[in-house]
Symmetry: C2
Subunit: 427 residues, 2 copies
């Protein structure tokens, strides 16, 4: 019976089908069939009358948050070592930490904690870098599969300009990558592999070429870093003087896959690189906390939006210290205001726009995710914001703003992915 | 007996006697006499052997946070209406909210909530703007006196360029100000009045002149706003073409009192204004969240520090959405990094520097406050950071960083002001 696959939730529904404004339904019903949104109704149709309703009256029902950039092994460094720029930060703090994941017991300990914390802050889909280590990466896969959350997980590839303890042999890097793909490509509907060259400076042309081939052969998505820091951009130019820019190196090796590549940061892209990303529907992943913390700069988000480049948000743990996307949404809006002061042709990002980036914008990388339009996966959070609106009677638009700006994980009372309740982890 | 006035706390002690680094004592004893720090000792002297020790082994003991700029009546607007710049923001969101405090029942409701939240986030001293309303301001005084926290509270004065419902008659503005001063100047050791002209555009020269006289007569501190927004600075220039700059208007009317004036924001001060502030030891209060949210700009904190101007931090609720000083410390560091990218002669603010600004820097406005040097008031927080450092063994410097960047009020287990335990409010 079809009805067996129907769930009905009642509450105050808020989402952003388009960037320009919140769509809101006060005291409405959202009908879920086979984990997907079927309809939103103000009055419940008779045909559903006999079904049980999950009643969240007066609570917000919003899409789960989507984090497009997170380094799982850097989790223990959160909030530490933010006194350097990108390259010395990698060398001083980040690479030594990533080296520890040769120890799978250490990986189990940290990655369990990562899962708990990601769950807690209401992230329902996430794109993760692990480390170079095959076995630790598999642990991360297994934990995410157990959790019920959605993830792309990439074993990091790096075979040059890296300290010896995390420097891969090119052949082994490829071999381990393929082993993980073979093992996990069909193991879960929600947790999938993603090709993950760390960034151009740490990957030989041979490695990039092979990774591009693998991505094509298995039709896999790709994630990496692009134009985060001026020193990095200069270095890439010195390493590859024959390429016209940084982004074109990824393109040359087949790593800017149409609608299937994530490029974190994108602060210093030139016009050609932005046009290239637009042409290939490459996602620019905005990680404002990280960009502040590592003195990288401010990504011109408005420029990317105006150019038709898909944009999502990332925490970039541990360049970013904040685990939750709401804090990144606030930081994104704040950063865009400073950008606007420099360049008045780039209007600040509005609250619904930034919310869109943190839900449907990033969610589109995972399919029909991040919205409550018909046919979208029901990835959702139930928000009890009663502690945030004790004084005034607020509109739904105001309530979602309050939650984003001043709420926290204590306001999130339930999480759902593809219509399934995701309970607190018991591992 | 002297011993009756002695309290001993044991724990991991962290503070910043100077800006350049954290001073730390692992597993040490801090001896408090009559509410003031007498000594910090690694081994407890025999003379104290018979006294009870408040044992917070493995917990951090740090100075309470000092918030130098907070608009109490704007509390209900926190997280709302951040899509405009200063002047339209005041007119659209802020003035209408402040108008409501003609109703003292409304004031009671909001100000009780303010107290709870300020307590919760670990602020132990605060400089507050109320509204123009005398009776509501008295409620704010009474609640703070009851709370055990320290505060300067100012009835706002504004007699021009304001909507009618919060426009004061000059004489009444003065009369109400004096009534409050007379009633509260000696009522509490911890909660005191402060002269509070809103800012130049809303105060007639007559009002500024009278407020300057009152400040001198009663020897009171002063708080106001300075150079927050370019439109505001331009407007002040048009209103007062005979003054050479914005700051000199306050000076002319006796409102830049030596070591006793707070000026919030200070983003667009010119060199003369900075020199004037240095000469008069006027505090520049940095409110980075607000400055981002209202698209105001970034205060060049380093310039002020280099010029010898005292600097503290402010949340600026509700231009700022965040209630806690740790979030302001992070935002201060982040903002300084963006400033540095623009101007490499202004090195970013380091974590101990920003911590200093949020404790001893701002605390100095209240006396010997914000440090644990001998003779300082024991204003302190006990921090249980065990949830933040589950993976690595961390140094005290790393632990305080983690708490600032990723902790929250759940980590604060106790608060003290002048040696007294400040319990959760029961009103």
């Amino acid at each position: 019976m079809v009805e067996k696959n129907i769930k009905i939730f009642k509450g105050d529904i808020v989402f952003t089908p388009t960037k320009d404004k919140f769509q809101t339904y006060k005291n409405a019903y959202i009908i879920i069939q086979d984990g997907k949104v079927k309809a939103i109704e103000k009055e419940l149709k008779e045909e559903y009358g006999h079904l049980t309703i999950e009643d969240f009256t007066d609570k917000l029902i919003i899409p789960g948050f989507v984090d497009l950039h997170f380094h799982a092994p850097q989790f223990p460094n959160r909030g530490l070592g933010l006194d350097k720029e990108l390259i010395p930060w990698l060398e001083t703090y980040t690479f030594p930490e990533e080296g520890k994941y040769a120890d799978i017991e250490y990986a189990k300990k940290v990655y369990s904690k990562v899962l708990h914390e990601v769950w807690k802050v209401g992230t329902t889909r996430i794109a993760l870098f692990s480390s170079i280590h095959k076995d630790s990466t598999k642990i991360l896969f297994d934990l995410f599969i157990k959790s019920g959350l959605g993830a792309y997980i990439g074993k990091v590839n790096m075979d040059r300009n890296s300290p010896e303890y995390i420097l891969e042999d090119t052949e082994n890097s490829i071999k381990d990558t393929i082993e993980i793909i073979d093992e996990y490509k069909n193991k879960s509907n929600l947790v999938k592999p993603i090709i993950t060259p760390r960034f151009v400076p740490t990957c030989t042309p041979k490695l990039l070429e092979e990774l591009g081939k693998i991505a094509e052969k298995y039709d896999l998505p790709v994630q990496s870093h692009l134009c985060e820091n001026l020193g990095e951009v200069k270095w890439v130019g010195e390493l590859h003087p024959n390429f016209k820019n940084y982004a074109s190196i990824y393109e040359h090796y087949g790593l800017l896959r149409n609608g299937k590549s994530l490029m974190a940061h994108c602060i210093y892209n030139n016009e050609d690189e932005i046009a290239l990303m637009a042409k290939n529907n490459v996602y620019a992943v905005h990680c404002p906390h990280s960009n502040y913390n590592l003195s990288s700069g401010i990504m011109p988000v408005r420029t990317f939006l105006q150019s038709g480049v898909p944009v999502g948000l990332g925490t970039d743990v541990s360049g970013g210290h904040a685990l939750g996307i709401p804090s990144v949404i606030v930081s994104c809006i704040q950063a865009s205001k400073i950008k606007w002061l420099e360049n008045k042709t780039l209007p600040p990002i509005t609250t619904p726009e930034a919310f869109y980036l943190g839900t449907k914008g990033g969610g589109s990388f995972f399919g029909k995710v991040g919205s409550f339009e018909e046919g979208y996966d029901f990835d959702a959070l139930i928000i009890d914001d009663s502690t945030l609106c004790e004084i005034h009677k607020l509109t739904l638009e105001e309530r979602i703003q309050k939650f984003i700006y001043i709420g926290d994980d204590r306001n999130i009372v339930r999480r759902y992915v593809q219509g399934e309740f995701v309970k607190e982890l018991d591992f």
